[in-house]
């Protein structure tokens, strides 16, 4: 069967999917909003079609516009990427109703995982350990002691439709609960259009560990091993790695088996990630399933050597998996760092600007998944993630050293990013020894990689020399038309003078 794939997304993940399609000789269609007219994904794909204005609700979240684009381009399949409509069962349903292939789970599966309480119930039924707490949404504002289910403070107030770290609030007491409940409901309505909330105990110093699975939709489920994503800010991942550091083989087997069990129970189709929290007693609790490709999938690809998008597309095309479990043998360690248009020095506020200069890292074991290009205007219209750098090494320490090296090579001019901050995390002792949990950044004190005095002196000398040369240039130009930049006058004078 011939496939023509429309990618209902933008940014690095759209570029990422196009790349695999090119290797598979599958024609691709990119979609774009007004601001993304010249974006990288539109240039990498075979075709590109406009779907609407910049506002996501009118373009990348606009189901009729996307279906229309499919029709106009004769697309036969749709890949939703991550974010946007990737977890929306209505979108999957609409694509399938239009006679196309949806590259993702069945809409019914998505609706289970789109409701965090239904997901808990499904996980419990599959025999997974689930955090205590009621399976019902929170009604009004009851006393915690009356809710039962062994729930005690501190608790997290979470949106039933939540995701991406949004709609989560912490309450340490009944008073705080009263303060945040209405706020959480309002936030949930604003972010997800559904104000239903529920309570979950806060797991202190938890580690976030997740398992990558691929199901054929008929009860066969493969696992590609686990990832650890404990380095988070605002409940959003910043650095991810595979395998999870410090897991015993027994713990690894038990967590991957649990994830596969859930997949089998639901006849899971396509790629998915089963997320767990590990508490300080090394007990795993199911938290949720992301029924789609994830941002951090490259670390799994690096350790397994398998292109997950390729497996996902081929499965959708043929209905059969090309791999068996024994084909999947993770080697070494891989770490991913997310490059954000955010300023860590000011509480990760978004930064904007034109990419005036760009030099991407390379060399052994480094992969860059990016949609950046020189001249690109970074705005706050979409997610702040600009690109990802992934490093592989024979062991975790080599991967850390490589990623540090790669991040130092990365030069992005025109706006502030978290590049230096990421390097500081990798450079820190707790990270290096794998002593990490989701509170890591709460009391993280970055140490300077280059002494501040040295750095500021470089800047001062560069600025002074620059102005000096510009002045000389101006004077020379007037007199003789000589360009001191070309002449390297200063350097020559230094050499002859010494």
């Amino acid at each position: 069967m011939d496939m023509k794939l429309l990618i209902a997304n933008r940014g690095e993940i759209a570029v990422r999917i196009v790349r695999t399609c090119q290797e598979l000789d599958i024609p691709t269609v990119a979609v774009y909003s007004d601001t993304d007219r010249n974006a990288l994904h539109t240039r990498y794909a075979d075709e590109a079609i406009k779907i609407g204005p910049t506002k996501p609700s009118e373009s990348y979240l606009n189901i009729p516009a996307l279906l229309d684009a499919c029709k106009k381009t004769n697309a036969t399949a749709v890949h939703p990427g991550y974010g946007f409509l990737s977890e929306n069962p209505k979108f999957g349903e609409a694509v399938e109703d239009a006679g196309m292939l949806f590259i993702g789970p069945r809409p019914h599966t998505m609706s289970i995982f789109g409701d965090k309480l239904l997901a808990r119930k499904a996980a419990r039924e599959a025999g997974l350990l689930v955090l205590p707490g009621p399976d019902q949404p929170l009604q009004g504002l009851p006393l915690l002691s009356q809710i039962g289910n062994n729930l005690s403070f501190p608790v997290l107030v979470k949106a039933i439709a939540g995701g991406g770290g949004k709609g989560i609030r912490l309450a340490r007491s009944q008073d705080e609960l009263a303060d945040v409940v209405d706020l959480a409901r309002e936030e949930a309505i604003a972010a997800f259009g559904d104000g239903t909330i529920y309570l979950e105990p806060l797991v202190q110093k938890a580690r976030h560990i997740e398992v990558q699975i691929l199901g054929d939709g008929n009860g066969k489920v493969l696992t590609f091993g686990e990832r650890e994503c404990s380095i988070q800010r605002r409940h959003q991942k910043l650095i991810e790695e595979a395998p999870a550091s410090e897991l015993s083989p027994k713990e690894r087997d038990s967590i991957t088996a649990a994830a596969c069990q859930l997949g089998k129970q639901l006849n899971y189709r396509s790629l998915g990630t089963v997320e767990f929290l590990m508490d300080q007693n090394r007990q795993f609790y199911f938290i949720e399933v992301n029924p789609r490709i994830q941002v951090e999938h490259p670390v799994t690809e690096m350790v397994t050597g398998i292109d997950l998008i390729r497996e996902q597309i081929q499965l959708a095309l043929t209905g059969e998996m090309s791999l068996v479990q024994s084909d999947i043998n993770p080697q070494g360690a891989a770490i991913e760092a997310r490059i954000l248009a955010e300023n860590p020095e000011e509480g990760f506020i978004p930064t904007t600007g034109e990419i005036s200069y760009l030099k991407e890292p390379g060399g052994p074991g480094i992969r860059v998944d990016s949609a950046l290009y020189q001249g690109m205007e970074v705005t706050t219209d979409y997610d702040s993630m600009l690109s990802k750098v992934i490093a592989w090494g024979e062991n975790r320490q080599i991967a850390i050293n490589r990623l540090k090296r790669g991040l130092t090579e990365y030069q992005i001019g025109g706006l502030k990013t978290d590049l230096v901050f990421l390097t500081q995390i990798l450079d820190s002792h707790p990270y290096q020894i794998g002593k990490i949990d989701t509170t890591f950044l709460d009391d993280f004190n970055p140490t300077e990689l280059i002494p501040e005095e040295t750095l500021t002196r470089y800047a001062a000398v560069a600025a002074a020399l620059h102005i000096h040369k510009e002045r000389n240039f101006q004077e020379h130009k007037e007199k003789e038309g000589i360009n001191p930049w070309r002449q390297k006058a200063w350097q020559e004078q230094t050499n002859t003078g010494s």
Binding site: Y357, Q474, Q493
Partner: protein, 167 residues
């Protein structure tokens, strides 16, 4: 010889550039700066290493500089005004440090200014420079106006210094 005072964050550097000599706060260095692509990318070299520095000049004589992913702001002014005073500083004569266009004059005759205040903005090569007063005093005369193209060394503003011994 040329003297530049550079402010980077909370730090101040006095950079003196002579023919074959570069002094930073009195210490000798052997830095050279070379443009790589005409688009802001430079190599700052000393004997031991090459440092990539990405320079963007902003309005008002300030620079955004990126070194190894660190973002720094630098502001350059001509002269080290609290050191041994030159005759110009004694007499309070502000002269054009470079040929260029007068963009803005921030003071009026009769105004009182403090040492270090920005009094004038000049542009050369699309690069704007803040000209600061080397001494506190009263503006006695302004000889130019925005839009004027001036040569190097032209008298722009006269100041009657507060510590004028002839007064």
């Amino acid at each position: 010889m040329a003297d530049y005072r550079v402010y980077v964050g909370a730090r101040t550097y006095d950079v003196r550039i002579e023919k074959d000599l570069l002094l930073v706060n009195g210490d000798q260095f052997e830095f050279d700066l070379e443009s790589i692509n005409g688009n802001g990318l430079h190599i700052l070299r000393d004997r031991k290493r090459n440092i990539e520095a990405y320079l963007q000049s902003n309005q008002n004589g300030s620079y955004d500089i990126q070194i190894n992913g660190n973002h720094l702001s630098a502001e350059v002014v001509f002269g080290f005004h609290n050191q041994t005073k030159t005759s110009d500083q004694k007499t309070g004569q502000i002269k054009s440090p470079m040929p260029g266009l007068i963009i803005d004059i921030l003071v009026n005759e009769g105004d009182h200014v403090q040492e270090g205040d920005t009094i004038l903005i000049q542009e050369a090569m699309k690069m704007q420079m803040k000209i600061r007063t080397p001494n506190s005093g009263t503006i006695t005369k302004i000889y130019t106006k925005p839009g004027n193209q001036v040569d190097k060394g032209v008298l722009l503003i006269s100041i009657d210094p507060d510590d004028n011994p002839n007064r």
